[in-house]
């Protein structure tokens, strides 16, 4: 069971690499280098701030785009191209396929983020000349970004298992935007009454909580991240992603592959 999941994940990773997804790292490197060099000339005293803000935002955005664009095709492309037929006629369970695809893309994003992290730290080193203790929190911010990718990948996979690529992209992107304001949504739900309150609260808790996973601003200002928050966010992200994957499995298991 785990070996099949591993093979499917490895093959998904290989597909991403051969589709030249990792070339985005070049664009990222160019961006970071340019920013690091320019920022020193423009603003004094906040170079580190700008570099961390820009770097982490770029890591997040690049990854979100990859997660959505690759994620929406994970299942639908295999159905459309009928490559799925020869896979499912083998002793591969449908749920193993979904889980394998998930780990493949999540792994790709993790690897991508790893390389980008090196770029961010290089840029920080360049503008600050030395590392400081507060730079450790940048790692936490990056870790939270990876958790965001985990959630987003599971969502893209869910939509891919029953919807066309275009719709999947719209849904996934919408959830990303709404999820980034999920704290506001919960606050808003608290202010409503009656039936609206039930619906709004339900939606507010169902929407992925990307806002809590975004600590870019505070990390840029060298603020620490509470240990409890790291634990809670990790638990939340893993449980949420698992929930969404269960949904994807349930949908996919019933699907007739015409």
């Amino acid at each position: 069971m785990t070996s099949r999941i591993r093979w499917i994940a490895a093959n998904t990773f290989r597909e991403a690499v051969r589709d030249r997804v990792l070339y985005n790292l070049i664009a990222f490197a160019v961006l970071m280098s340019g920013a690091a060099i320019l920022v020193g000339q423009i603003s004094i005293d906040i170079e580190r701030l700008v570099v961390v803000n820009l770097g982490l935002t770029a890591v997040s955005l690049f990854g979100v785009i990859i997660a959505i664009f690759v994620g929406i095709g994970l299942v639908s492309k295999e159905i459309e191209k009928r490559t799925l037929y020869t896979v499912l006629s083998r002793p591969v369970r449908r749920w193993e396929f979904i889980v394998g695809k998930f780990f493949g893309l999540a792994g790709t994003l993790a690897v991508n983020t790893f390389f980008m992290a090196i770029g961010v730290f290089a840029a920080v080193l360049y503008v600050s000349r030395h590392f400081q203790k507060a730079d450790g929190w940048i790692l936490v911010a990056l870790y939270f970004i990876v958790l965001q990718f985990v959630i987003l990948t599971s969502l893209a996979l869910l939509f891919s298992s029953f919807s066309s690529p275009l719709l999947s992209a719209v849904f996934a992107f919408s959830l990303f935007v709404i999820g980034s304001f999920s704290e506001d949504l919960r606050g808003f739900a608290g202010m409503t009454h009656g039936v609206t309150s039930w619906l709004a609260t339900g939606a507010a808790y169902l929407v992925p909580n990307f806002s809590a996973l975004n600590v870019i601003t505070s990390v840029a200002h060298e603020q620490p991240v509470a240990g409890h928050l790291i634990f809670y966010n990790t638990a939340y992200a893993l449980l949420y992603a698992t929930m969404v994957l269960c949904g994807a499995v349930l949908v996919f298991q019933r699907r007739n592959l015409k």
């Binding site: 749920w95 506001d184 806002s211 601003t217 939340y236 449980l239 929930m243 349930l250």
Partner: protein, 309 residues
């Protein structure tokens, strides 16, 4: 096919369990982070930069910050806070993103200017905010009203208040009370009639529930102050006439001093004390009153002037 069924049941159960778990941890995260997103407001170096970053969606972002401002103030108010540091930045960001969001300026005038716990105690910042609004909406008479309102209520600068009302009255379609108020500033700034007019205007110029509730509370307070003054005066005259203070209002009624039992604005009877003083039964229900409170009365940390109170 039962293995497929068991499979489906397993995943449904797992889904529900994960959903419950994620909600549980989400609540923990919210608790830890309460106010964290708002706190980041202090890190925004310049609202103008934020506006540019919002790529033309600044209207939506303004609405989000506006909602945050309202929630922030309401939340802090319920905690009985003494400091409302983030209110000014939140309103400033809101209005930079959407300079035509008039209610934000009104909110600032009503809740940024007054001293804590009724507001943030930053009247000058409120003035700056409203003047920014006037610059961007020169034909909106409401903003001139708000400027005069702040000068009148918090800064007690009646000359400037008159100036603001006068400017506003010249705007086409201005509400007539602007001219009225401009006139009253000169001679009758301290009168209760002017105050009543001011707060009635405050109630009428907006649809925002919080501002209206606040204005009503002030109007009730004015009513109480006036009633207490009148009733104590009547009690004093009674004493002059009969040599003693009245023991009850019905006594005063039989003596022809009044008709019926006097009720406070919330419909409860006033209390007549043996020494001729008049008090309200529940002073906590009347924030802002200056008369009619028992000696040594301390107003609650959370004065009741918002609709949620």
């Amino acid at each position: 096919m039962s293995s497929r069924r068991w499979n489906a049941i397993f995943f449904v159960l797992l889904l529900i369990a994960c959903m419950a778990g994620s909600v549980f941890f989400l609540q923990r995260v919210d608790q830890l982070r309460s106010g964290a997103t708002l706190g980041e407001v202090l890190y925004i170096p310049s609202p103008k930069v934020l506006k540019r970053l919002s790529l033309g969606y600044s209207g939506l972002l303004a609405d989000i910050y506006w909602t945050r401002a309202v929630q922030y103030f309401g939340g802090k108010h319920h905690e009985g806070a003494e400091h409302f540091d983030l209110l000014a930045p939140l309103l400033e960001i809101t209005t930079t993103l959407d300079p035509q969001l008039v209610v934000a300026y009104q909110y600032g005038a009503n809740f940024l200017a007054p001293k804590p716990p009724n507001g943030a105690g930053q009247p000058q910042r409120a003035i700056d905010l409203v003047e920014f609004g006037i610059r961007h909406n020169p034909n909106d008479w409401k903003l001139y009203y708000e400027e005069g309102f702040i000068y009148y209520t918090e800064l007690k600068d009646y000359a400037r208040a008159a100036n603001a009302f006068a400017r506003g009255s010249r705007v086409p379609n201005a509400h007539p009370f602007l001219k009225l108020l401009a006139g009253r500033m000169a001679e009758q700034a301290g009168s209760i009639e002017t105050a009543r007019l001011m707060w009635t205007a405050a109630y009428q110029t907006t649809q925002d529930k919080a501002i209206r509730a606040n204005a009503l509370a002030h109007l009730r307070a004015l009513q109480v102050d006036e009633d207490v003054t009148t009733l104590e005066g009547l009690a004093a005259r009674y004493k002059d006439q009969t040599g003693q203070f009245p023991s009850s209002f019905s006594q005063m009624e039989s003596a022809g001093f009044m008709r019926g039992v006097p009720l406070d604005p919330l419909g409860r009877p006033y209390r007549l004390l043996p020494d001729g003083r008049v008090q309200v039964v529940s002073p906590d229900d009347f924030p802002f009153i200056e008369r009619g409170t028992p000696p040594g009365y301390k107003p609650p940390a959370t004065p009741k002037f918002l609709p949620s109170d």
